[in-house]
Symmetry: none
């Protein structure tokens, strides 16, 4: 049984305008019917939307941010979703980024202290070399799996890593490729965040090519 837009708006207590905006941006699924393309909603989709579980990343994807605030928001949203889903969550980034992310998370969740104490949310910084970092992830993923974690979430602010600072951006891409192979062996959902302000178009293209899970189509058709 489908709901029309008025019923959906009443159910969620929002305006029809908001529903239209959300569906247009792809945040909320909706069916279209008839020549006027009227919106019809499934109850399950609406409930999933309010629970915030509609947009869980899968696999190994990346995100681009254009402001520090956006970085904080993206990271906090992903980690919050992961905690809600019961995943073991990691955030890798410069120490000075930890604080705003934690603050943002704390605003929404009361059990942050528990998550930190219980090692369900782990903040870390990137190692100086790709090899070290990969060894770190491998150890953590194995440990988490051994401890019975059913899913793991990783959010990394790659642009803040020492590896991304120097002139050898190719190393970052090699790291990403290796990370993709590693994480594919565990139930890990990863989003690597990049600062669009500090990278060139070519570097950005390389980043995208290193995250095929992002796209609907084969990445080779999109970036070359």
């Amino acid at each position: 049984m489908l709901l029309d837009i008025a019923e959906a708006a009443a159910l969620l207590r929002v305006s029809e305008a908001s529903l239209r905006r959300w569906t247009n941006r792809g945040l909320l699924p909706c069916l279209r019917i008839g020549g006027r393309r009227e919106r019809r909603f499934r109850r399950a989709d609406l409930m999933a939307f309010v629970e915030g579980q509609s947009a869980t990343p899968t696999g190994h994807i990346c995100g681009l941010y254009t402001s520090d605030r956006a970085r904080t928001r993206q990271a906090a949203r992903l980690l919050g979703d992961g905690l809600d889903a019961g995943s073991v969550c990691f955030f890798a980034g410069q120490p000075d980024v930890h604080e705003p992310v934690l603050a943002q998370l704390a605003r929404r969740r009361r059990s942050l202290r528990n998550a930190l104490d219980g090692q369900r949310l782990i903040l870390t910084r990137y190692a100086d070399s790709a090899a070290q970092q990969l060894a770190f992830w491998k150890a953590k993923f194995e440990a988490a799996t051994r401890d019975g974690a059913r899913s793991i979430r990783v959010v990394g602010d790659v642009s803040g890593a020492a590896l991304a600072r120097g002139d050898g951006f190719a190393r970052v891409l090699e790291y990403e490729a290796a990370y993709g192979r590693l994480s594919g062996r565990f139930p890990v959902n990863t989003q690597c965040l990049y600062d669009a302000r500090v990278h060139s178009g070519l570097e950005t293209a390389g980043v995208l090519a290193a995250h095929p899970d992002l796209f609907r189509q084969p990445v080779a058709h999109l970036v070359s």
Copy 2:
């Protein structure tokens, strides 16, 4: 278990009159029963009807190239696929790019001459203003639709356009947004190609954000 017209109308939240109109036009399958030819509906047909209407047969995506050869290859592949699919195909780009694309296409297809003569493959260059270019696409899409084209393919080398040359890259993004709205009204598959070598990371991020169809997830979660 078949649904009568009242039940079907309740399921889809539409009036019985609409169901009658749609079935009369052959848009929605229905069974007729008895000497009075009463309508009976299958659940699967009804759901396929809404799903089918909401599935976007059209898309507006972008691609990034890092070399002139890559640009040629991407454009030729897309146009070749479009011709194979029987679409009316457009390539918009600087005149000096037309030739290598045509050459690459000719390598795979013998009927290129026919396609060009028959206006199934049309090469063009970008107009100097966004408004002009949008008017051009609108006219072409309407003409193609009127002439019975069932699908249209557009490939554009946006980085080569005059619009993208100046300092006002924001204009390009506005153009993309407007193009997305326009093309959504026609059965058009579009890929806008960008030169990763000439754009900054910020510009590239803007380009990606302007092409939500590219991604598996809501673009707002990926680029901000």
